[in-house]
């Protein structure tokens, strides 16, 4: 996306610093409304980061799901639950210890990874060359991401769609509290209020 490598590194450093700052702010925030808004900002920064990394598909998903719809749904939840967190009574020592150990293990794990953006990393050697060669040979659509998702690995995407379907059905069954045509539906239609 950005031509100059040092400018790209600078933008990424700024975005990652902001992400870290927002994470600390989320952890310290006791007002749930503030937490939801900070989470939304986190998603927007993450989407910006994905654009810098040239992953525009992921950036679109992050911006629309993470910053858009999940924020709206969390706000709707706050409307039901109230927005202040109860003060914490237990000690934070054990959670802090677990977080530091897990975080340290993850950072330690990154040492074994191939360096960032290198072209001969194992992920680029496995099936990706086959997809690219096949697409080029058969003159398939230029966006290989779409071809991989819907064609080469269509079965995976069918599975993902089924996951969305299952999750949606689960949420609907939990929240609507009954089968369709049940009492909740009729009550809702009768009310017809127009204010959230």
């Amino acid at each position: 996306m950005i031509g100059n490598p040092s400018a790209e590194a600078f933008v990424m450093t700024v975005l990652l610093t902001l992400l870290a700052a927002i994470t600390i702010a989320i952890a310290r925030q006791r007002n749930m409304f503030g937490v939801v808004i900070l989470t939304s900002i986190y998603s927007f920064l993450m989407a910006s980061l994905m654009i810098v990394l040239d992953a525009v598909d992921v950036a679109m998903t992050e911006a629309s799901v993470g910053a858009g719809i999940s924020t709206v749904i969390l706000l709707a939840t706050l409307y039901l639950t109230g927005s202040m967190e109860y003060p914490q009574r237990r000690s934070v020592a054990i959670p802090l210890f677990v977080s530091v150990v897990v975080g340290g293990a993850l950072v330690w794990g990154t040492i074994g990874l191939p360096s960032f953006g290198i072209s001969n990393a194992p992920i680029h050697q496995h099936v990706a060359p086959t997809y690219i060669d096949f697409s080029k040979k058969h003159d398939m659509p230029p966006n290989i991401v779409t071809a991989v998702l819907a064609d080469f690995r269509g079965f995976d995407t069918l599975g993902e769609t089924t996951v969305v379907f299952t999750a949606g059905i689960g949420v609907l069954l939990l929240l609507q509290g009954g089968w369709r045509g049940g009492s909740s539906r009729r009550r809702d239609d009768a009310e017809g209020d127009d204010e959230i």
Partner: protein
């Protein structure tokens, strides 16, 4: 009349373009970034913005809950049905080669149909979840 005139006028200006952008992301997915999932979420976002500004009752006029709940399994059915159709045409599951005479055209059609399936399920799920959360507090 409530005092949110600016919000209402602004939303009315923006809403058609959000839907247009969703359709662009859907049908231009072969060439640009995006696809069924992103387009479905953006289209659902349009309905949700409409519900926030003009009320859930108005949103249920353009996206009735019965239709939205029907969309959730319909998309999976379109996707899986494409696979079954390719089986019936003598290919492997989700191999679109027999859908047209030309290899490239057949795969473009296959991708298009499958992406529409993803769009329908994702859009329906997002709107249905939003409705479920919003109407929860009233009962």
């Amino acid at each position: 009349m409530r005092l949110d005139l600016i919000l209402r006028v602004g939303a009315k200006l923006v809403l058609p373009f959000i839907l247009l952008f969703a359709l662009y992301v859907q049908f231009h997915g072969d060439y640009g970034p995006g696809g069924g999932f992103q387009a479905g979420v953006i289209a659902a976002g349009m309905v949700i913005l409409y519900a926030i500004i003009f009320g859930v009752h108005a949103a249920k006029q353009i996206a009735p809950p019965a239709m939205v709940e029907m969309m959730v399994p319909l998309g999976v059915a379109i996707f899986a049905g494409t696979g079954v159709a390719s089986l019936l045409l003598g290919d492997k599951f989700l191999d679109y080669t027999s859908f047209a005479h030309d290899f490239l055209h057949a795969h473009e059609w296959g991708i298009l149909i499958v992406e529409i399936g993803v769009f329908v399920t994702v859009c329906g799920t997002m709107i249905a979840m939003f409705y479920a959360f919003v109407q929860r507090g009233r009962s």
